[in-house]
């Protein structure tokens, strides 16, 4: 049986990000906020890093806030660490 390990987020575990690409309108605000983690390709394909390094948390949080359709989800640090 795998028990949940409720350790504090270690520095090595990446962040966990997912974008609802049904919602995403490809307007690229996230790309300005976190250019290392979000990128629009072609006319409107959003490519993103689902596991960005922890050091990017500030940027990613700004991207979450910047998205006009709230399409970006980021795992909270007080959530259960997988």
């Amino acid at each position: 049986m795998t028990h949940p390990t409720k350790t504090a987020s270690s520095r090595t575990t990446p962040l966990r990000v997912v974008v609802d690409l049904n919602r995403c309108q490809g307007y690229a605000q996230c790309c300005y906020a976190a250019p290392g983690a979000f990128e629009v390709r072609g006319h409107e394909i959003l490519f993103y890093d689902p596991a960005p390094p922890r050091a990017r948390r500030g940027e990613i949080e700004r991207a979450v806030q910047a998205c006009p359709v709230r399409a970006i989800s980021l795992q909270a640090d007080d959530g259960e660490t997988p």
Binding site: P4, R16, H43
Partner: protein, 439 residues
């Protein structure tokens, strides 16, 4: 037998629908025991990147673990399948022999890739399917070996996405489909023809109307060619079988539910139906595995194998699981999906099956940037955007409202849009429910 361990609310299937369902249970105030059972040894991960950036090598196969949006405080039973459900004893049996007593149950076991039968070459080495992280890792490793030619069988969404990735990797690709164009089942042949042009431009050898009879291997048991029904052969040393998925309902075989390879049948509130048609008040289903009467489509039984449905239905079922019988909310869902291939962002809403016409309402087919609306009997039922995503929400609303088809132009004196025959293949003989599938 000794008493089964009390597992509280049990979610079987630890992927997108199961995770979002579990989160919704907590968000809606459930504070009791929560158990998630998954046969894969991994925490829930996202599948869409597997057929896109993982195949292309831009993301590692294990990069797409899903964020958990609520602290779950759950017991995770990962790496062992549920193999049986006893509704009388209210227990679930796992492959490792454990027996768990559930209080309420959410079935979210999704679907599994349809494999090529071993009798006609399906067991040869270098033949792949793509559903999970392990499949993607194996396929990616094989692509990185630089096969001489990749043969993809099935030009649905996953087959076309894989073809696009293989061309980005510079690999020679042949793509086969029994229909006249790619994406014929999801978008019809008129729109599918746009992707046929993309295939051609990118150098994919696309053979429409082609059926594989068998695969043949060399002395070492590795695939070397496919024999087609029309007598042709295609040499290929790597094969991707992209023929869709069957719902993971095997484990429910003896449970007395209305379940088969096409899904688990639910009522409009995501409650599972017993084989005799009665409602099981404590068993719900969500995601790819669920089939339910969708009131947006006249109460037709539909199952939707797309990301957005797993998210919405997981949460919806969880909400109903905590509500009394007289307060069950009906699940009205407008299906939606996205895909990216050949540099185009494809997004669609609605169920296009059964459409009798299609009209381009923004952009043009020739430019490969357009929004097309599908109609049936004078009503708008679905829409697809090629790189015109910003227009889609407006048409989604029109579809929900059952607006006329073809839509009226903004300036009413310009009249209606010209319509075309959408060109949907005849329904598959064995299917008895409408399906929207990401295959």
């Amino acid at each position: 037998m000794s008493a089964a361990a009390d597992a509280g609310i049990v979610v079987v299937g630890a992927s997108l629908a199961g995770l979002r369902g579990a989160e919704a249970l907590r968000r809606n105030g459930y504070a009791g025991r929560l158990t998630l059972i998954g046969n894969e040894p991994y925490r829930p991960y996202d599948r869409p990147p597997l057929s896109k950036h993982v195949l292309s090598g831009e993301l590692a196969p294990d990069a797409s673990e899903l964020p958990q949006l609520v602290a779950l405080d759950a017991d995770w039973r990962l790496g062992h399948a549920a193999v049986g459900l006893d509704r009388v004893a209210r227990t679930i049996r796992l492959a490792d022999g454990a027996v768990l007593a559930y209080d309420r149950l959410l079935i979210a076991t999704g679907a599994q890739a349809r494999h090529w039968p071993a009798a006609s070459g399906g067991a040869l080495a270098n033949i792949f399917t793509l559903r999970g992280r392990d499949d993607a890792a194996r396929l990616r490793a094989a692509l990185a070996q630089g096969p001489r030619r990749v043969l993809i069988v099935g030009a649905g969404l996953i087959g076309c996405e894989a073809a696009s990735c293989c061309r980005d990797l510079g690999l020679p690709v042949t793509l086969l489909d029994p229909n006249p164009t790619p994406l014929a089942r999801s978008l019809g042949t008129w729109i599918g023809g746009v992707i046929a042009e993309c295939l051609k431009d990118s150098g994919v050898a696309f053979h429409p109307g082609a059926r594989v009879l068998r695969f043949e291997g060399d002395a070492s048991g590795r695939v070397v060619r496919a024999d087609l029904a029309d007598g042709r052969t295609i040499e290929a040393d790597l094969v991707i079988v992209a023929l869709g998925a069957t719902r993971a309902t095997d484990w429910l075989r003896d449970a007395g539910l209305m379940a088969d390879a096409g899904g688990v049948t639910c009522d409009g509130a995501c409650r599972v139906l017993a084989a005799d048609g009665t409602t099981c008040p404590d068993i719900y289903a969500a995601g790819d595995v669920a089939r339910w009467p969708n009131s947006l489509y006249g109460g037709r039984l539909v199952s939707v194998e797309h990301w957005g449905n797993a998210v919405a239905q997981g949460a919806h079922a969880a909400r109903n699981m905590l509500a009394p019988a007289e307060d069950q909310h009906r699940y009205d869902h407008l299906p939606a999906f996205w895909s990216s291939q050949f540099g185009i962002n494809i997004k669609a809403v609605g169920l296009s099956e059964g459409a009798d016409s299609v009209a381009i309402v923004q952009g043009s087919r020739a430019s490969r940037r357009f929004l097309a609306v599908y109609g049936r009997a004078g009503r708008s039922i679905a829409a697809v955007s090629f790189d015109q995503a910003r227009w889609l929400p407006a048409y989604a609303e029109a579809i929900m409202a059952g607006s006329h088809h073809p839509p009226i132009r903004d300036a009413s004196d310009q009249g209606r849009f010209a319509t075309m025959e959408p060109g949907f293949p005849p329904p598959r003989a064995a299917s008895h429910a409408d399906e929207a599938r990401h295959v």
